[in-house]
């Protein structure tokens, strides 16, 4: 099935993916192209697709990247959708920060318990761990030897729990 890819004028300035209502109940008997053109015409009329040759690209959905982890880094490379490694690194760092923040919140609880117990050794250990977590976005190397989206996604700090 074909989809329409069009530049997102808003942050993160990626490519938006428009999937027409193939098999929609109003479109029984319509061809795939008729449903596609219907969606395209309405999007152009509403201004959500910019006019002009660069305003949109029609591609087969099976030709898109299969992993949407870096969707916010999708861009048009002239003939196909690709992943901007620069944007992908920012996306990956956002994921790292999110999990890091959750781990910091957990350490706040363990630190308070250590304070209540008067356990200064535990407090020092937790303090060091929290500082390591705070520094992660700056210290974790996601550039060296990381030249594909797959390698980037696989690169994950050992200080953080494994992802789902």
């Amino acid at each position: 099935m074909k989809v329409i890819m069009t530049p997102n004028p808003n942050s993160p300035y990626n490519l938006r993916k428009i999937s027409p209502a193939y098999g929609g109940q109003e479109f029984v008997g319509w061809t795939e192209d008729e449903v596609l053109q219907r969606a395209l015409a309405r999007r152009l009329a509403s201004g959500s697709i910019p006019p002009g040759d660069d305003g949109y690209h029609i591609v087969e959905e099976e030709d898109l990247p299969t992993d949407y982890y870096f969707f916010d880094a999708w861009e048009w490379s002239g003939s196909a959708v690709s992943v901007s490694m620069e944007k992908a690194r920012a996306v990956h760092l956002t994921h790292i920060r999110r999990v890091r923040d959750e781990e910091l919140a957990k350490e706040d609880v363990t630190f308070m318990r250590a304070v209540e117990a008067g356990d200064t050794d535990a407090q020092a250990t937790i303090k060091t761990k929290k500082q390591t977590l705070r520094d992660l976005p700056a210290t974790f190397d996601i550039t060296t030897g990381v030249d594909t989206p797959e390698k980037l996604k696989a690169k994950w700090p050992t200080e953080l729990p494994a992802r789902e």
């Binding site: 999937s19 929609g24 008997g29 309405r42």
Partner: protein, 164 residues
């Protein structure tokens, strides 16, 4: 095999004038025996002006949908950023960025005060919101429940309201 019609004098007729509605006998016809589909044809007296035209089931459905107020107007399911088949009242589903979608209606609402309900996949630890409804589209967002971060997820949407 063709039919031959005779007048009251027993003469074969080669042409016909208008047939009165009361002269039609449909009792002996063949029952359709299945659900009416969009491609089925019906007869309409266009504008009650005496010119009979054919009308598709889809056109009748659209007429009803556009003229019966406050009925369920639209619904659809988005999986993997793609609008699934059997939607109603939707032209397309657009994945704008991670966790942010716009659903374009296949008609125009009378105003933006229609009701929209949205649910996310069970067990996915996600929440969802509806945002910025207009007469032609609505924005839907899915989040990770624990962190509040935008994250794509399968969802279902249904809308009720008055047609334009």
């Amino acid at each position: 095999m063709g039919w031959t019609f005779y007048n009251a004098s027993g003469e074969a007729l080669t042409s016909f004038g208008p047939v009165a509605l009361t002269d039609l006998d449909i009792d002996g016809g063949t029952a359709i025996g299945e659900a009416i589909v969009g491609a089925d044809l019906f007869i309409a007296d266009n504008g009650a002006g005496g010119t009979n035209v054919k009308v598709t089931g889809t056109e009748i459905a659209n007429f009803i949908a556009g003229n019966v107020p406050a009925v369920a107007k639209a619904y659809g399911t988005i999986e993997g950023g793609t609008l699934q088949s059997n939607s109603l009242g939707i032209t397309d589903g657009c994945l704008d960025s991670t966790g942010v979608y716009t659903v374009a209606w296949n008609f125009t609402w009378a105003n933006a005060n229609y009701a929209v309900m949205m649910t996310v996949q069970a067990g996915a630890n996600r929440t969802c919101t509806i945002d910025e409804p207009t007469t032609t589209q609505v924005t839907a967002k899915t989040y990770i429940a624990s962190s509040g971060a935008l994250d794509s997820n399968n969802y279902h949407i249904v809308a009720f309201g008055d047609p334009s």
